[in-house]
């Protein structure tokens, strides 16, 4: 009688275990992960070893502070005119290069309160066309269109991203060096330069190695 009870109990436990086993979906986060708003300078839970938003924020903030702290900018009686030159990407990561200069420009424009002036050289074709339309009288003008008002650059701001990669069975390591320069347009002297460096390492699951 006693052994019968044990048998039935055992069978019940096994069936229950089987049933619960089948009930599981076996998927981690089956309902997905809700959208998580993060700060741009935060390291998120989706990361790689490449150039990411937190790097962009850290690097461009550092560069903006460097430019603003420059005597030639901070104590200039007339705000210097700066032209942005494309950033050179020599890393192994394809990036939107303009985003670095765009953030530096926006940061300086919002924080420097007129201490520097950026010239929209990337819009020069459209600006020339507009001026030509005014000069030929095809559109109206509030000032004399024949007067040269396009400003020349006092400085060029440019940068370069360079990288070093090591990949081995132990994982991948990526080092990226960010350098930015302010170049005097008249003398070609590099009046300011700063750098930032970020190194990241990661290792894939053994299933991918």
């Amino acid at each position: 009688m006693k052994s019968n009870t044990i048998t039935h109990l055992g069978m019940a436990v096994c069936i229950a275990a089987a049933a619960f086993g089948c009930a599981s979906s076996g998927v981690k986060n089956p309902s997905g992960t809700p959208v998580t708003e993060m700060k741009a300078d935060e390291r998120g839970f989706v990361t790689g070893t490449g150039v990411e938003s937190q790097d962009l924020v850290a690097v461009t903030d550092k560069m903006s502070r460097g430019i603003l702290g420059l005597d030639r900018v901070a104590r200039a009686t007339t705000p210097p005119n700066i032209v942005l030159e494309p950033v050179v990407n020599e890393t192994r990561f394809p990036i939107n290069k303009d985003i670095f200069l765009t953030r530096i420009r926006a940061s300086l424009n919002s924080k420097a309160q007129g201490k520097v002036i950026f010239l929209a050289r990337e819009q020069i074709a459209a600006l020339e066309k507009e001026r030509e339309l005014k000069r030929t009288g095809q559109v109206t003008s509030t000032s004399d269109p024949n007067v040269q008002e396009f400003k020349g650059a006092d400085y060029f701001l440019t940068g370069k991203l360079q990288g070093m990669t090591t990949k081995a069975k132990a994982g991948v390591s990526d080092y990226v060096l960010y350098t930015f320069q302010l170049i005097d347009a008249r003398s070609s002297v590099i009046v300011w330069e700063d750098l930032a460096e970020i190194k990241k390492q990661g290792l894939e699951d053994a299933a991918y190695r």
């Binding site: 055992g10 086993g21 394809p94 990036i95 069975k169 991948v172 991918y208 190695r209």
Partner: protein
């Protein structure tokens, strides 16, 4: 103790053991995601690809993104190709650290093919290569170079360092872009020349304004071998097409193979996963043998006249059955999912042509240098004045004619 109660206890033990083993199989087998019906193939690779990306298994998404991106590139649908490659590359760049599916695929009772597909290193390298071509087509040679460098990195952890990072074209193009951007690309070109085992890459054409990427031949395929199909191997390496000629007006250039994907796939050496699969195979075999021994010896004991021996025999049989079930549930099979529309050979030709509209023809040649009938491709191209240079991609699987 009566005979019947002894038998009853033995039967109970066997029954419980069987149920336990069955429930463990349920745990292993039923814990997968609910079965989702696989999309049906229509025969149109672009339609099928998009369908599988949207509705197919999540673990195969990158595989279908690779395939569909290449199909789109060959049909001149560059935006679609970029979209899928970007999605796939974003996925494969974020695989560091813990991955639940990858972890499961290492367990005894899950197949390797249950992990999220990101491809073997030669497949990942090719995803970077094609994205590089697309960046160059868009006039971003430095981003193209970044992709070629990343492609080379994918191949840099081989077991035998002789074959580490040895794609000829990746280094050559790295040097080519560096030179065109005013840098010194000579180191990269030297590496390309050292690694070339088919053809040496040509010297730079500094004034070239038309760059043609050509690829051809059937891709390497994967198969599983070994007693339990636990060893991943590659097949292929043979192609009817062994070179190509690119003609534009009076000019022509030989698109000889600089890289061989079968060579790249098969010279990487062992994977860490191979050891995991080998362990699974050993477990499968040893549990199978132990199970057989248990069942046979248990059966022999059960025929004994001694009740206690009979009881023990039935218990041993039960354990044998359980062990056999564990063996059957072990899955050491290697993952053979393959990016199956890759080429075998990669090539590149540079031309200096007058700006304007041209007709470009690519003839594919066999081993005797004969043009293979019905395989030629033509494209109407418009070479712009000055920079950026015109970059085009033609494959033996491209649609023809095209306007590029």
């Amino acid at each position: 103790m009566t005979q019947s109660s002894a038998l009853h206890r033995a039967a109970t033990a066997t029954c419980v053991a069987l149920l336990l083993s069955l429930s463990s199989v349920f745990w292993a087998g039923c814990s997968s995601s609910p079965k989702k019906e696989k999309p049906k193939l229509t025969g149109d690779p672009l339609v099928d690809g998009e369908n599988f990306i949207q509705n197919g298994p999540e673990r195969d998404r990158v595989l279908w993104q690779y395939r569909t991106a290449l199909t789109a590139l060959r049909q001149g649908k560059l935006d679609l190709s970029k979209q899928y490659l970007d999605e796939a590359l974003a996925r494969i760049q974020g695989i560091y650290g813990k991955d639940a599916d990858a972890k499961k695929s290492r367990s005894y009772f899950r197949e390797e093919a249950r992990k999220t597909f990101i491809g073997e290193p030669y497949e990942r390298a090719m995803a970077w290569f094609y994205r590089g071509i697309l960046y160059w087509i868009d006039g971003q040679p430095d981003n193209a170079r970044a992709c070629f460098r990343s492609g080379q990195v994918m191949d840099s952890d081989t077991e035998d360092k002789t074959y580490s990072g040895d794609y000829v074209l990746f280094d050559y193009l790295d040097g080519y872009v560096t030179s065109r951007l005013g840098g010194d690309g000579s180191d990269a070109v030297r590496r390309a020349e050292t690694n070339s085992h088919l053809w040496k890459p040509p010297g730079f054409a500094p004034k070239a304004n038309l760059l043609v990427f050509v690829d051809y031949g059937p891709p390497p395929t994967k198969f599983a071998t070994g007693e339990y199909r636990e060893q991943l191997r590659f097949a292929g390496g043979k192609s009817q097409i062994v070179s190509a000629t690119v003609k534009i007006g009076e000019a022509s250039g030989k698109a000889v193979p600089y890289d061989d994907l079968f060579f790249q796939a098969s010279t990487r050496g062992g994977r860490v996963m191979d050891h995991v699969l080998a362990n699974k195979a050993v477990f499968k075999k040893s549990t199978d043998i132990a199970g057989t021994v248990g069942i046979i010896s248990g059966a022999a004991m059960a025929t004994s006249n001694n009740r206690d021996v009979q009881t023990a025999g039935l218990a041993v049989m039960g354990v044998g059955v359980v062990t056999k079930i564990f063996s059957a549930a072990t899955t050491p099979e290697a993952d053979v999912r393959t990016w199956d529309n890759l080429p075998l050979y990669l090539s590149f030709v540079a031309f200096e042509v007058t700006p304007g509209e041209h007709t470009l023809t690519v003839d594919f040649l066999d081993g005797q240098g004969r043009i293979l009938a019905g395989q030629s491709k033509t494209a109407t191209i418009n070479v712009p004045e000055g920079t950026p240079e015109k970059v085009i991609y033609v494959s033996d699987k491209s649609i023809t004619p095209q306007t590029l």
